[in-house]
C-alpha cells in the first residue's frame, strides 16, 4: 500500500527569505485586527456585561420580528435577539431590571414567557442566565488575568528552557494569535463569552506546542551544524518539521470540523475560534516566531559552548568506560 504524503520529502522552502513580506503582512493584519476590536468592539455575552439571557426554542422557525415587537411592547429595555445554529432557536438578551428585589428577575422571565406564549414557545426555556454587573466585572478581570498569566508563564518557560530570543519570539507570536482571534470575533460579531476565553487559552496552548517543536529542532540543528548561517539553519529546521506541522494541524482541524458540524449549536462560536486559532497559530509558528529569531539576533556561539561542554563530558565518560568496561 502506498502511504499518503501530504508534504513531499526534503522540501526546501525559503521561509526566512520571505520574512520581510511576512512581517509586513502580519503587522498589517494585526493592526487591522486591533483597530477592528477597538472600533467595532466585541459582542460580549452576559458573562461579561451582565444581564439576562434567555435561550428559547420554537416548534417551527422562530418569528424574529414578531418576537422583537412583543418584547419591545413589554417596555423592559432594549432586547437583543440573536439566532445561531438551528432556525427554531433564539437567544434573547435583556438588561437586568433596575431593582434590588431578587424576585424582579423572575418576574421579568415570567413576562417574556407570557409575551411569547401565543407563539407556543417550548417551555421551559432551554437556558436562562442572569449575571449581575458585579460578577460580570470579576469574570472579565479573571479572563484577562488568565490569558496574560498564560502568555507570561510560557514566555518564561521559553526563556528558561531555551534562550531569551525564543521566549520573546514566542511571546510576540502568541500575542499576534490572540489579537487575530479577537479581530475575528469583532468582525463576525459572534458572541464573546467565557467559553471563548477557554478557546483563546487553548489556542495559546496549541500555538506554543507548535512553536516548541520548531524551536526544539532549531536548537538541535544549532548543535549539529555549527558552521551553517542562522537563516539557512532556520529554513532547514522549519522544512524538516513541516510535514509534522501540517499533519498535526490537519488532524486537529478534522477533529474540530466534526465538532463544528455535529457538536450542537452551543459550542459553535467556541469551535470557530479554535479552528481559526489553529490556522493562525500554524502560520505564526512558521513565519513569525522562527524568523523573528534572526531579527532578535540569536547568538550561535552560546550553543557552541554548550555543545562543547556536553561533548567533553561524553568523551570523559567514554574514556572511563574504556578503562573499566561495563559488565
Amino acid at each position: 500500500m502506498r502511504l499518503l504524503k501530504i508534504v513531499p520529502d526534503n522540501t526546501n522552502i525559503g521561509f526566512v527569505k520571505l520574512r520581510g513580506w511576512a512581517f509586513g503582512l502580519t503587522a498589517l493584519l494585526t493592526i487591522a485586527a486591533g483597530v477592528l476590536v477597538g472600533v467595532r468592539g466585541l459582542n460580549f455575552g452576559v458573562d461579561f456585561v451582565g444581564g439576562l439571557s434567555i435561550e428559547a426554542r420554537f416548534p417551527g422557525d422562530a418569528p424574529l420580528d414578531d418576537i422583537r415587537t412583543r418584547i419591545d411592547a413589554l417596555g423592559v429595555g432594549d432586547a437583543q435577539l440573536q439566532q445561531f445554529g438551528p432556525k427554531n432557536t433564539v437567544s434573547i438578551r435583556l438588561p437586568l431590571p433596575n431593582s434590588t428585589d431578587p424576585a424582579a428577575t423572575n418576574a421579568l422571565v415570567g413576562k417574556v414567557q407570557a409575551a411569547l406564549a401565543p407563539d407556543h414557545v417550548i417551555l421551559p426555556f432551554d437556558q436562562v442566565d442572569t449575571v449581575s454587573g458585579k460578577v460580570s466585572g470579576e469574570l472579565i478581570w479573571k479572563g484577562v488575568l488568565a490569558v496574560f498569566a498564560a502568555v507570561f508563564c510560557i514566555a518564561l518557560f521559553g526563556i528558561v528552557r531555551f534562550e531569551w530570543q525564543f521566549g520573546v519570539a514566542t511571546f510576540v507570536s502568541i500575542f499576534h494569535d490572540v489579537l487575530m482571534t479577537l479581530g475575528f470575533f469583532a468582525l463576525t460579531r459572534l458572541e464573546f463569552d467565557l467559553n471563548i476565553v477557554a478557546a483563546v487559552l487553548t489556542i495559546i496552548g496549541y500555538s506554543i506546542n507548535d512553536k516548541i517543536v520548531i524551536d526544539d529542532r532549531i536548537r538541535e540543528n544549532l548543535r549539529k551544524y555549527r558552521q551553517m548561517p542562522l537563516g539557512e539553519l532556520i529554513d532547514l529546521s522549519v522544512n524538516e518539521t513541516l510535514p509534522r506541522t501540517v499533519m498535526t494541524s490537519l488532524t486537529i482541524l478534522l477533529a474540530l470540523l466534526s465538532l463544528l458540524l455535529f457538536g450542537g449549536h452551543v459550542l459553535r462560536g467556541f469551535t470557530a475560534a479554535m479552528m481559526l486559532g489553529v490556522v493562525v497559530g500554524t502560520y505564526s509558528s512558521i513565519y513569525v516566531s522562527s524568523s523573528l529569531l534572526i531579527t532578535l539576533g540569536l547568538d550561535k556561539s552560546r550553543f557552541r559552548q554548550m555543545t562543547d561542554a556536553t561533548d567533553k563530558k561524553k568523551a570523559a565518560r567514554a574514556r572511563a568506560e574504556r578503562i573499566a568496561p561495563k559488565p
Binding site: M1, L3, K5, D9, E55, T100, P102, A103, N106, P124, F125, D126, Q127, V128, D129, T130, V131, S132, K134, V135, K142, L145, A146, A149, I154, F157, L194, A198, L201, T202, I204, G205, Y206, I208, N209, V213, D216, R217, E220, T241, P243, R244, M247, T248, L250, T251, I252, L253, L254, A255, L256, S258, L259, L261, F262, G263, G264, V266, T271, M274
Partner: protein, 528 residues
Amino acid sequence: MLDFPRWKIASIIGILLIGILLSVPSLMPESTAKQLGLGFAPKINLGLDLAGGSHILLEADTADVAKTRLANMQDTIRTAMRKATPGPIAIGDISTANNAISFFVRDSQKLDAAVDLARTLTQPVGTSGTRDWNVTVVDSTRIVMTQTQGGIDQFIDQAMTGAVDIVRKRIDALGTKEPTIARQGSDRILVEVPGVQDPTELKALIGKTAKLEFKLVDTQADPAKIAAGQAPIGDQLLPYQGRPVALFRQAILTGSDLKTARQDYDENNQPAVAIGFNSKGARAFAETTQANVGKPFAIILDNQVLSTPVIQSPILGGSAIINGSFTAQSAQALAISLQSGSLPIALKTVEERTVGPGLGADSIHAGIIASTIAVIAVVLFMFITYGRFGVYANLAVIINVFVILGLMALLNATLTLPGIAGFVLTIGTAVDANVLINERIREERRRGRGVIQSVELGYKEASRTIYEANMTHAITGLIMLILGSGPVKGFAVVLLFGIITSVFTSVTFTRMLVALWLRRQRPQAINI
C-alpha cells in the same frame, strides 16, 4: 528498543486496562450499573450544562451587616446602661447616624463608668489586639462607637459559615438529588442543584432570611401619632395591610425559640404553618399570653407583619399556628425556612444559570456524535498516512479516550459541555506525539539508517520534543484550572487529563506495540 521486559509489558497493559475498566460504569445507564452490582463504582459527574439544572450564586448583603450590627449595638447599649451596677447610667440623644452610635451621658461623673461598660460590650478580633468597635469620647460627655473593619469582617465570616449550614438544611429538606452547596470567597455561596428547571422556588426558599418574631401590639399608642409615622418610646412601627401598627420592641418569642415547623391547615382549612416551641419559648409564650388575654399580638416575618391575632385564652401547650395568605406551597417553603432557622445574613442572587433538561440531553447527544466522528476521521487519516504505525497510534488514541474517562471517574471530576470540546481537541492533539515520532522515523529512514535504528532514534529524538511541548501545554491547562471559572475550568480538567494520558499512550504504549512487532517479524524494510 527491542528490549521490552515482560514485567514492563504487563504493567503497561495493566495500567491501561484499569483505566478502561474505570470508565465502564460511567458509560452505561445507572440502572444497568446497579444491576451488575457496580452502583458503588466511581462515576463521572455531569455538569449542569449537560444534566440540566440550576446554578445560583448568592452574595451576602454586606452593606446591610453594618446597619444590623449598629441597630443591635444600640439596643445592647440601652439595656446595659439601664442595668449597669451600682446604678443605672442615664444616657440621652442616642443616634445611629453616620455609621456610628453616639450618645451623651447625663451625669458627667459616670462618664468613665459608661466608657468602661461600653468597652466590655466589644469583642476582640483575631490576635492583633484590635476590637470590633472603637469607643471614643468627644465633647467631654459624648461617647461615639464606630465599627472596625476587622469586626465587620469577622461578623460576616461567622455569619457566612452559619448561612451555608442553613442553606444546606433548606435544600436538603426539598429532597433534591446531589446538590452542591459551597462557600466561595469571603461573602458568597454557590448552590448547584441538578434537575431543577424552575429556580424561582429554589431561590425563594434559600434567599428568605426567615427571621420570625412574635411581638405584642401597643394598644395604648396614640393613633394620630402612628398615622404620622411617630413611634412611641420603646415601640416600633411596621406596616400591616397598608397601615402602620405600633409594636413593643421587645419580642415575646423569636425563631430561635422554635423546635418544629411544618405545613398544616388552620380552622378555615387554609394552608398555614404549625410551629412548636422549645421549653424556654413555651414558658415565655405562656406567661405573656396569660398576662395579655384579649389583646392582639403580631406575627412578624422578615420585618413584615403576617397577622395580628387576638389572644383568646392563654396558650400553654407550646404550639401555635401561623396563618397569613399562604398557598400550600408557600406554607411549605416557610415551614422549611423556619425549621432550618433564620439566615444570620441577608443573601441576594448575583448570578443564576439554568439549563433545561432538553438542551442538556441534546448537548450530550451532539457531543457523543461529534467525538465519534472525530475519532473515525482522525483514525482514517492516520491510517492512510502511516499504515501500520498509524494503526498503533490509532489504538493509542482510542484507548486514550477511555483512560481519560476512567481517570475522571476515579477523581470524581465533572464533565461539562466545554469538557466535551476539550475531549474532541484531545483526540486531535493526541496523535501529535505519534506524528512527531513517525515523521522522525521517516526522516531517519531517508538518511539511510536501518529499520531498528530508525525506529529507535525516532522515539528517542521525538520524546524530548514531546515532553517539552506538552509541558507548555500543561502550563496553560493549569492556569485555566487555577484562574478560570465555570466553563474554563471544565475545559481545563479534560485538557490536563488528556495531556497526561496521551503522552503515556502515544509514547510508551505505541513503543511497546512497535517493539513487539519488530521483535517478532524482524522486517528488513518498513512502510512508513
